[in-house]
């Protein structure tokens, strides 16, 4: 299994039936394909729909039905569409159960930076700041390091997306939970040791007496 699939599968285990879920662009969108059997959730796309789904078949694209990247999508029976104020009311108003977002850096306090690299990449924050500020649960799905440089750091050098502490970090090496005491190592990936994870992490991890392996087949 490649690293991104592993991350997507592990994140999918966090979703519960009936959840309203918003998946960020890139790796997080892969989570939709790995929902455990019997777990039905509603996916929101912030451009104005609850109940997004893949295009049912080639040729069934509709020009008025797209995801936040402008690509065609489908909709499940029971879907609803609405304007941008309603869409962000769902996000900010405590109605969104889970958001899964990519990350550039997460620090010891669980603060996420994922929207710009000064001087290099200034795409704009889009909906990311609202999602991190407002979702009931924020899961960061990202690769553990960028070409060997840790993405989990003592303090974010990149501009923050929000000061809100994220709830969980899932990487190809580990599951880490930011808490008020620091970053707690909850699980390691199959074949990965605690020492492996710490070596590629730029902040001190709190390691419980037993650290289970991710329940991923």
């Amino acid at each position: 299994m490649d690293e991104k699939t592993l991350i997507a599968k592990r994140v999918a285990l966090e979703l519960q039936a009936g959840n309203l879920v918003n998946l960020g662009i890139g790796l997080p969108t892969m989570v939709a394909a790995h929902l455990p059997a019997g777990v039905n959730v509603f996916f929101q796309s912030e451009n104005g729909i609850v109940g997004m789904a893949p295009v049912p078949e080639a040729g069934a694209e509709n020009e008025d039905l797209s995801d936040a990247g402008g690509s065609p999508i489908g909709a499940v029976p029971g879907a609803a569409s609405f304007d941008s104020a309603m869409s962000f009311g769902l996000i900010r108003g405590g109605h969104l159960d889970v958001t899964v977002l990519g990350g550039l850096q997460v620090d010891e306090e669980g603060r996420l930076a994922n929207w710009m690299v000064p001087g290099k990449m200034v795409p704009g924050m889009g909906g990311a700041m609202d999602l991190v500020s407002g979702a009931k649960r924020v899961i960061v799905a990202m690769q553990h390091s960028a070409k060997g440089t840790p993405k989990i750091v003592k303090r974010c050098e990149l501009p923050l997306t929000s000061v809100r502490r994220v709830d969980l970090i899932v990487t190809e090496l580990a599951v880490i939970e930011p808490t008020d005491k620091g970053l707690v190592l909850k699980e390691v990936a199959p074949g990965v040791s605690v020492a492996d994870v710490q070596a590629l992490t730029g902040a001190e991890l709190i390691v419980p007496a037993t650290v289970p392996t991710m329940p991923i087949a």
Binding site: S45, E46, N47, G48, I49, N62, E63, D64, L65, S66, D67, A68, G69, G70, A75, S81, F82, D83, S84, A85, S87, F88, I91, R92, M121, V122, P123, G124, M125, G126, G127, A128, M129, D130, S133, G134, P159, L160, T161, S162, V163
Partner: protein, 220 residues
């Protein structure tokens, strides 16, 4: 009385230097003929308030590529390398606003509010220069209302009075912007007789729309 106008007459009402709100999300729900005609008439020095600038050849991106935009207020320009280039080169001013905050600032403008309090952006660069307000132990930023000279709206269906219906994710910012501008020009895919659109289906009531143009092709 019918509000349908010729495309060129409608767009001729927009002065150079106007502040425009333009509906759409990555071109979906952006009125294509109004964009064509803005370019054909050589409008310039525009300020555009919109969710994004789509791609260089799509929707609002076409205005940016033609260099007729002086300032952009948007939540995302990551899909348009030309907007990013112009921003970095100092040719175009870009103000980035979190998407939910942008929606609320437009809504506030149209709903007669001076602004809104939002937790989004607290403790980030978005807070710079803004008033921080604490209420019941929670911290918010005061985000001020946005208004425009002209709103360019894309609708699925209109009647001749200007009642508007939207479709699926092409709705996005359109109904909010139709409330927040002095002059509202809507482009509809279909214009139907008055009475065809049931009152419960009207999202933008006709009193908000000044001028209608028919739409021959869809987005972007």
């Amino acid at each position: 009385m019918s509000k349908v106008r010729k495309l060129e007459e409608a767009v001729a009402m927009i002065p150079d230097g106007a502040v425009l709100m333009i509906g759409g999300f990555m071109g979906v729900g952006t009125p294509p003929h109004l964009i064509d005609e803005l370019l054909r008439q050589g409008k310039r020095d525009l300020t555009v308030i919109a969710n994004d600038t789509a791609r260089p050849t799509v929707g609002i991106g076409r205005l940016v590529s033609a260099k007729v935009v002086r300032k952009v207020i948007a939540s995302h320009i990551g899909t348009n390398s030309e907007t990013q280039r112009q921003m970095i080169a100092g040719e175009t001013v870009v103000e980035l606003v979190p998407q939910g905050t942008l929606a609320e600032r437009v809504r506030a403008g149209g709903f007669g509010l001076g602004g809104v309090l939002t937790p989004t952006g607290v403790g980030t660069v978005v807070e710079d220069g803004k008033q921080r307000i604490e209420l019941d132990g929670k911290v918010y930023l005061l985000e001020t209302a946005l208004k425009a000279d002209v709103a360019l709206i894309a609708a699925k269906r209109a009647d001749y009075l200007g009642n508007l219906e939207y479709a699926l994710t092409a709705r996005n910012f359109n109904p909010l912007m139709a409330m927040a501008a002095e002059l509202v020009i809507a482009e509809a895919e279909d214009i139907v007789p008055v009475g065809v659109i049931p009152p419960d289906s009207v999202v933008t009531p006709n009193v908000l729309v000044d001028c209608l143009v028919a739409k021959e092709r869809r987005h972007g």
